[in-house]
Subunit: 417 residues, 2 copies
């Protein structure tokens, strides 16, 4: 049998949760016919015919019955269409399929021929160099599953309450396996001058999207990514080359990367002065907030879903932290009065989404569901009240507050703010 | 800085490989212009225009420049088009995007309405039951990254040598994050009679694809999967429900699952008598070979690629074992005379693909590249000669022999058999 400790642990957990008894059994029995049901004796039409030889050749697409599971704009839609969101309430596990990874672009998605694309490295280096994609792909590579979150994710939630889905409020979060070359490997090739401390990264899109990044981060875990979930980057994710800064706010992972320049201080670009700064009560702005903080959200059940009957439900969601690993996630079904520890799906990886699950028997009474993540640095996901108190009522970016979902007596789930 | 031991280990490794020096530096310098190159001072056309607002809404597709990276039929194509293969030589990391997961079907892909789909559990159970998809998705779930391999993968290689790609020879292997309900959870709900030892699984496709599976496997790690890489199953992967038997030959993970029956012995179905059996020298057939054995293949460089110049290359490939985890992968660049240990990308997961990498400086002379995987059970991937000696010259299924790739002096890479 299995040697996997996780599985063994899980089995104990399942046994305990199923011991709730009437929950699962009741729900299923009430919705199930017996095996003697006449409907089952009828052979389904799809069993009586030859199926499609190849459904979606040569590059496959989802089933036509899943056509509503797509990226969507926020609700209400903004004037400038610059971001689409991942349908997190329809997803399972931690991997976001490439076709559903959230998008954010500052001048649309450029159409870049990879054979013509170049990356220049200059400034405080011993040997300024230009690299083709072929050059870059000959370097030693690595593959890591990392989350990516837009700093503006969940921002709408700070200002107003609405009947929105998890996708509409929190859909600027995705998680893929990213493959590329360590920035440190490339910079080693160019030689770093000792006085260098910051790096400018510039995109080849029409916005020439540009950010300043500490050299220490670039030498720590930054990668020049050319693949996501096995295949080459999608166009909207920076094809053919993007910077990927694990745990940092998404906009800093410059897409369509064309230039890295080493220097001694930040360049004060548009995207780190007029945008992506955090206004405080005194009218001053905190300029740099790089890391996305500890956060979680329940995705099932979540906004605009409906529980059809009392009984057993598995509460499930995603958690992540820019500080590294998630240590635990707690779930409350009584608006935060009491908390219980959820199960984390292993392996729990560094700077990756983690799937958490918690068994719940709904008794039919109104309930408020919440999740609260704690990371290995000890940071605890705050309530909205605590977040505003610590930061500012002006806060827009970096909202990592606890999301409450209200379950009404009729089973309807809405934003519980 | 990072606390990740893997990264620390990797850094030491990179340092050692880069110390090869002329390899990486030489290759890159010869292909790179200096930063003063006039071509770089010209602004690329895509930087001077607004890009597409949303490239592939609402469900994204790969870049148009990657249109050759698709599933393909084997070469030569068979009379019956029943399988398409994953382009493993174009992929990075371990995750196979859903649009590129290999396909194998026995009567085409049925078009199943998930609201009408049912799973019946009967035979030696206390409470025979029928489950809708809604029922099944209310049970506790789990998500795991697992490989899936067709037992016929690499079979062509046993009979002949050809100028084929890694996809054409070995492309019936893929790896996804699968989410679903443990079979044990569902069977617990129905109650297992003590005399039950085998389970019949039947698909709802036109072939009513049917296999017998030991109950012990079903209770160990088998899942009723409804999602892959986050989203619901693709039609060709069994939408809306498939059995998933980690590490077992692919055909046993019955797709479009409609029925599980518990009994006391195998049912001797067509697919375990006339097919999927292993003919021995004496004319008798070994009926059941469930596990896919320890195996690896170098994907970069591989068949039909060309090395353009001498210098540094990262040899990279995938390894897996039905016995559990990969312990190590060794690489030979001299046709198996000497072997060196490759680096494994962490986390190394149970019954999952593992990406291995090995730094190599090509001196321009003909070379034969091989990889050899060893799993935690101690099993070692055999040579073709050893495999035929142990099994039979009649062997067709379960070819896990070492794949040699011949590198010619002009850089062309071909099947080295």
């Amino acid at each position: 049998m299995s040697n996997d400790k996780t599985l063994t642990k899980r089995r104990g957990f399942l046994k305990a949760s199923l011991a709730v008894g009437t929950g699962v059994s009741g729900a299923l029995t009430s919705n199930s016919a017996s095996a003697q049901s006449n409907t089952f004796l009828e052979i389904d039409p799809w069993t009586k015919t030859q199926g499609a030889t190849f459904v979606n050749p040569p590059y496959g697409l989802p089933s036509k019955y899943e056509k509503e599971v797509v990226r969507r704009l926020p609700n209400p839609a903004p004037i400038f269409l610059t971001a689409s969101r991942t349908p997190i309430q329809n997803l399972h596990g931690i991997i976001t399929p490439n076709g559903l990874h959230f998008e954010r672009h500052h001048a649309g998605v450029p159409d870049i021929n990879p054979d013509q694309h170049r990356l220049v490295v200059h400034g405080l280096v011993d040997r300024p160099m230009i690299f083709s994609m072929e050059n870059i792909m000959r370097f030693p590579s690595e593959s890591k599953i990392y989350f990516m979150e837009c700093s503006g994710n969940s921002a709408a939630e700070l200002k107003r309450s609405a009947n929105n889905t998890a996708q509409q409020i929190h859909g600027l979060i995705s998680c893929c396996e990213w493959t590329g070359v360590r920035v440190s490997t490339l910079l080693q090739e160019c030689g770093i001058k000792p006085q260098a401390t910051w790096v400018l990264a510039e995109g080849a899109d029409g916005a020439a999207m540009t950010r300043s990044i500490p050299l220490s981060k670039m030498l720590d875990d930054a990668i020049l990514a050319y693949a996501q979930n096995g295949e080459m980057l999608r166009a909207e994710q920076g094809y053919p080359l993007r910077l990927f800064l694990p745990s940092y706010e998404g906009n800093m992972s410059i897409k369509w990367l064309r230039r890295l320049k080493l220097g001694t201080e930040p360049w004060q670009t548009r995207e780190e002065t007029s945008a992506y700064t955090d206004l405080r009560e005194n009218g001053k702005a905190l300029q740099f907030t790089f890391k996305m903080e500890v956060k979680s959200v329940i995705t099932q059940p979540s906004g605009m879903m409906k529980l059809k009957s009392k009984g057993f439900y598995e509460i499930s969601g995603i958690a992540w932290s820019g500080n590294g690993k998630i240590r635990r996630v707690e779930v409350s079904t009584d608006a935060g009065k009491t908390w219980q520890e959820a199960m984390l799906q292993e392996p729990v990886m560094d700077k990756s989404l983690v799937r958490f699950r918690y068994p719940w028997v709904w008794d039919g009474a109104p309930a408020v569901l919440m999740s609260r993540a704690v990371d290995t640095s000890g940071d605890v996901q705050p309530t909205m009240e605590a977040l505003i108190k610590t930061k500012s009522a002006n806060t827009f970016y970096h909202n990592n507050a606890i999301q409450p979902w209200q379950v009404a007596a009729n089973g309807e789930v809405t934003n519980g703010r």
